[in-house]
Structures are given as structure tokens and as C-alpha cells.
């Protein structure tokens, strides 16, 4: 099926780019509006630096952005630099691929203390996200609690515990590597409120933790033995088997330890300004799938607690939003509710924060099919000149980072990597990134008009 639609995709993470690929192949003209100066979303700012194989997806994503009818416009914050009403005048179709930028709180006393952070903040910091807290994460505590039973919890525990020299050959920014080298962290406690067979870890990533050279993995037999499998999911059964194996593994006296703790739920954080104790409720199955507190409590001394209990989407001004689920309500990808025609969603803002990168491919295909099926009857935008958005942004004093601009950032990162024996070292300062990009965008109007 082909269509001559003019499309704006908001967000350049995997789901947005897979949507761009499908729409581009169908003959649409696509602008990708990205809030950051750099593309790739969570592929760049979520996938852990030591997961090099997943990062090898970048060249395939770059080919999508390099397609002749796809235009990258970075550093544009939709809702602030340009609003939805304005975009609807310029595009036949808007696709929201804004992800899930907010984290869920624990909702317990003491959560506001220093040393209580979202895992996302730690991920953003070690990924060199331009919006990460520049003071970084304080790693002066010996014990860290990570709350959650998914792959984000594994990522942050692994980066905290892994020998930092193993990260020198990755793209982590220099200041991050320096902080990790000076880290006092010795024990990372991953705390899950249910039993080991309920954990959402992928077995591949779980196994990786057990293979870290300088880390002992510690599992308490009492917390895994006698627990019901309670699942028919083969991955969760494999995880359970792995935890049982680890519970019998003797400690090797390695310099750091990752403890997996089950049936514990944070009840309160205690400390004077800064967290120093995490109070945990012992949990047991309470029937019909719920887990309930027994009244027994355990206290872990820890100076840092990172919560990895889920992400949620952030509303886009002027677009319907399901506050409860933290997603844009949709039917097969078409935004429903008060939205007018021509608005669609893809990725985490559509289905919630679940799945792996590849999950977005099928997700995007669904939305693309819905768009192409509606194409013959969709109302067309009044203004169809590709220059129009640049003029409007320019009037607000905003100069987008173009594809050529990003390629200049990319080249600067590769050059910086050479100084450390890494394929690349990320730039993380937004001003430096923008200056690098703009120096290569001598004639942005001409260059971004390649689709014209």
C-alpha cells in the first residue's frame, strides 16, 4: 500500500524509527521531531553501555534516518517549541512516539530523602543523557538497595557492581567512568516483593550477572526453596532454576556482591537528610495472586536506594491521555478520545513500558497499517511546504539539529573514543552537542530541504 502523506513523528526511539521505516517505504514524507540533539531514544539512553550487541542495532536505525524521504529535526521540544495545533496545520498525520519518560514512585515515607533516586536517574546519568543531574549519583555508600524485579534493576545493579575497567572500552562519558572508578559500593541488594518465579528478568540478562568477573551472586536458599513455580512461563521457570543453582553456589570472596532478595517490599526509608536504612516488609502469597505483608520486618543499612518499579508516559499537551495507565488511549494505534483525525501512537506511549526493542517493530507495523488503511480519506494539512516548520521554529528562535548536525556530534564522539581505546565516548553536555552540530550546519535551510 502506498500513500503520499506528510507525517511528523514525535520521538526518534526505536518505535518512532520503525514507524518511520514503514511509512517511508509506503512513500510518505516524514519529519522526525526529537527533543534531544541526538537520535535513537532508549537505544542510546536506556540500553546499558555494556550491552554492545544490542547497540549494534544503531547502524540499521541510522539507515532509516538516512532514507531520502525522512528528515531528522533534533532539539525540538513538541509542546514547548511548537504546539500540536501548529503541527496539525503542517502535517496530515502526527505519530506520537514519546515513550515513558516518568518513573513510578514507591509511595512510602522517607522517599524524599537524599540517596533515594529513581533507577532512571542513574541510567540517564551513566548513559550521558543531556538532562541527567550534572552532579550525578553519589556512590560513597557501601550498600545500595535496588527495588524491582525487571531488567532495569539488573542493568543498574550490574553497572554498580561490575569492574569499571570493563566499561572503559564502552561509550560511557569520561566523568561517569571516573565516578564509577571511585565508587565505594560493595554490596548491591536487589529487592523483589514477590517470589523468585515472579521475577520479570530475562534469563539471558540474569545469567550475565552470574558471569561477572568480580561479583559474587548471593541468593538465600530460604527465599527460593519451597516456593511454588506459580507460573508456566518457560523464562520464569528458567529464572527459578538459576536462582536455585545460585543459592547452592559457595561464595568466591570476590570484591563485590549482588544479593537477590525475594518477598520483601520497602515500607519506609529512614535517615537524617540522607537515607541510611531501608525498612522492608516480609511478603507472602495472600491468595488470588496478591502478596500481603506478614508483619515481620527487616532493616537493610544502605546509603542509596534506586527504585526500578516501572515507567509511565508523560502527557503531550493537547493529546488525550489515560492518567491511570500513563498512555495515550488508542485503537490499533489510532488515538481515540477527543483527538481529531490523523493522530496516532506507537511504542511505550501506546502500549505501556513493556517488551524489548524488537517488540516495537510489530507495534509500529500495527500503527503503520492503521495509518495506511485510513490514508485515502484522511484530511490533508493546509500547508504542505517542508520549509514551513523551519520558518515557524526560526520565528521562535529555535534551530533544529539536522542529520548533518547529528553526524558531526557522532564524529566528535568517535574521535573522543579514540583517546580511550573505545569505539565512541558520548558527549553529554547539551550546549556542547548543539555547538558541535551547528558548526556543521552552515546552511541548515538548504540541507534540511532534501525532501522538498
Amino acid at each position: 500500500m502506498t500513500a503520499d502523506l506528510r507525517v511528523a513523528i514525535v520521538g526518534s526511539g526505536p518505535s518512532g524509527l520503525y514507524a518511520a521505516e514503514g511509512l517511508s517505504k509506503a512513500g510518505c514524507d516524514i519529519d522526525i521531531l526529537e527533543r534531544l540533539p541526538a537520535p535513537y531514544g532508549l537505544l542510546r539512553y536506556g540500553v546499558a553501555p555494556d550491552h554492545l550487541k544490542i547497540k549494534s542495532l544503531v547502524p540499521a536505525m541510522a539507515r532509516i534516518l538516512g532514507r531520502p524521504n525522512v528528515r531528522f529535526l533534533g532539539g525540538i521540544h513538541v509542546g514547548r517549541d511548537i504546539d500540536i495545533t501548529s503541527l496539525r496545520e503542517l502535517y496530515d498525520v502526527l505519530v506520537y512516539a514519546t515513550g515513558a519518560a516518568e518513573d513510578r514512585p514507591l509511595g512510602i515515607p522517607g522517599e524524599g530523602l537524599d540517596g533515594s533516586r529513581a533507577a532512571r536517574e542513574f541510567v540517564s546519568w551513566y548513559s550521558g543523557h543531556p538532562d541527567a543531574d550534572p552532579s550525578g549519583i553519589d556512590l560513597s555508600a557501601t550498600d545500595v538497595v535496588v527495588v524491582g524485579a525487571g531488567n532495569v534493576a539488573l542493568d543498574v545493579a550490574r553497572i554498580l557492581a561490575r569492574d569499571p575497567e570493563e566499561l572503559a572500552g564502552t561509550d560511557v562519558p569520561d566523568h561517569v567512568l571516573g565516578r564509577l572508578r571511585g565508587s565505594d559500593v560493595r554490596d548491591v541488594h536487589i529487592v523483589a516483593r514477590r517470589g523468585p518465579s515472579f521475577a520479570k528478568f530475562s534469563t539471558t540478562e540474569l545469567r550475565e550477572v552470574g558471569e561477572l568477573a568480580n561479583v559474587d551472586v548471593i541468593v538465600r536458599a530460604a527465599e527460593v526453596d519451597g516456593t511454588d513455580a506459580a507460573t508456566a512461563d518457560p523464562e520464569q521457570l528458567r529464572n527459578l532454576e538459576l536462582f536455585r543453582e545460585w543459592s547452592r553456589r559457595p561464595r568466591a570472596g570476590k570484591p563485590r556482591r549482588i544479593h537477590f532478595r525475594f518477598g520483601l517490599s520497602p515500607a519506609e526509608l529512614i535517615g537524617h537528610r540522607r537515607v541510611d536504612q531501608v525498612v522492608l516488609d516480609r511478603m507472602v502469597p495472600g491468595g488470588s495472586g496478591t502478596w500481603v505483608a506478614t508483619g515481620e520486618r527487616e532493616v537493610l543499612r544502605a546509603g542509596l536506594i534506586l527504585r526500578a518499579v516501572g515507567y509511565r508516559g508523560v502527557p503531550v499537551a493537547g493529546v488525550p491521555f489515560d492518567e491511570h495507565r500513563g498512555v495515550i488511549p488508542h485503537q490499533d494505534g489510532r488515538v481515540v478520545g477527543s483527538a481529531g483525525d490523523g493522530q496516532y501512537a506507537v511504542g511505550w506511549i501506546k502500549r505501556g513500558p513493556s517488551g524489548v526493542i524488537g517488540t516495537n517493530k510489530a507495534d509500529a507495523q500495527e500503527t503503520v497499517a492503521t495509518i495506511l488503511a485510513a490514508a485515502p480519506t484522511l484530511p490533508r494539512a493546509a500547508i504542505r511546504d517542508p520549509q514551513a516548520i523551519l520558518d515557524r521554529l526560526g520565528a521562535s528562535g529555535v534551530t533544529p539539529v539536522t542529520w548533518a548536525g547529528w553526524l558531526a556530534i557522532d564524529a566528535a564522539e568517535v574521535a573522543r573514543g579514540a583517546t580511550r581505546g573505545a569505539p565512541r565516548v558520548k558527549l553529554s553536555d547539551r550546549k556542547e552537542m548543539e555547538a558541535t552540530a551547528l558548526s556543521a550546519q552552515a546552511r541548515p535551510d538548504e540541507e534540511t530541504r532534501k525532501t522538498a
Partner: protein, 103 residues
């Protein structure tokens, strides 16, 4: 380590996994599909969507299915690394355990 498609796929070939694979590294033979180990990026998208639970991490293949690991490799003896299933399309042969190249 990559993922491997085991025996449950034979003569089922549901192909849902092909839509999920972000690098298009799952190749269709005549009776089952095969994962190109050098192209697979270990993302794990294919495993949970398989309706017959035929896909395993290579390190977690059940003993009775281990022969499929070697058979999967053998499928790419001549194909090598084609760079994406879309580029070559379905193949008219298979590599199954206890069986020579079945053309």
C-alpha cells in the same frame, strides 16, 4: 550467545517471530525457521511471542533439543550472513537433527 529455534517449530512455522526481530535475522526454511547467530543481537524479542515455545537462549536449550543448536548453525553453512531475511526470502531446504541437508 544467541537464541535458537528448536523442534517445536517444525511444520508449524508460525512466523510471528519474524515480525518481531529488529534485525531481520530469522530465516525461513521449508519446514521451520532459523536464527542467524552472527546477526542476532540477543534482544530476546522472538522468544516470548513464539506460540509453541520453540525458541530458547542457546545456553538454555533443553537437553532433548540440543541437536537443533548444531542444526541451526548448519543451515547457514552455505547462506553465511545474508544481512536480513527480507533480502533472500524463504529457502527451500532445512537442517534438522539426524538428517543431512534436505534439498
Amino acid at each position: 550467545m544467541t537464541f535458537v529455534v528448536a523442534g517445536a517449530c517444525v511444520d508449524v512455522k508460525d512466523r510471528t517471530c519474524l515480525d518481531q526481530c529488529p534485525v531481520d535475522c530469522i530465516y525461513e526454511g521449508s519446514r521451520k525457521v532459523y536464527i542467524q547467530p552472527e546477526e542476532c543481537i540477543d534482544c530476546g524479542a522472538c522468544e516470548p511471542v513464539c506460540p509453541v515455545n520453540a525458541i530458547f537462549p542457546a545456553s538454555d536449550v533443553p537437553d532433548v533439543e540440543l541437536a537443533h543448536v548444531e542444526a541451526n548453525l548448519r543451515f547457514f553453512d552455505e547462506l553465511g550472513s545474508p544481512g536480513g531475511f527480507e533480502l533472500i526470502g524463504p529457502q527451500d531446504f532445512d537442517c534438522l537433527p539426524d538428517q543431512r541437508l534436505d534439498r
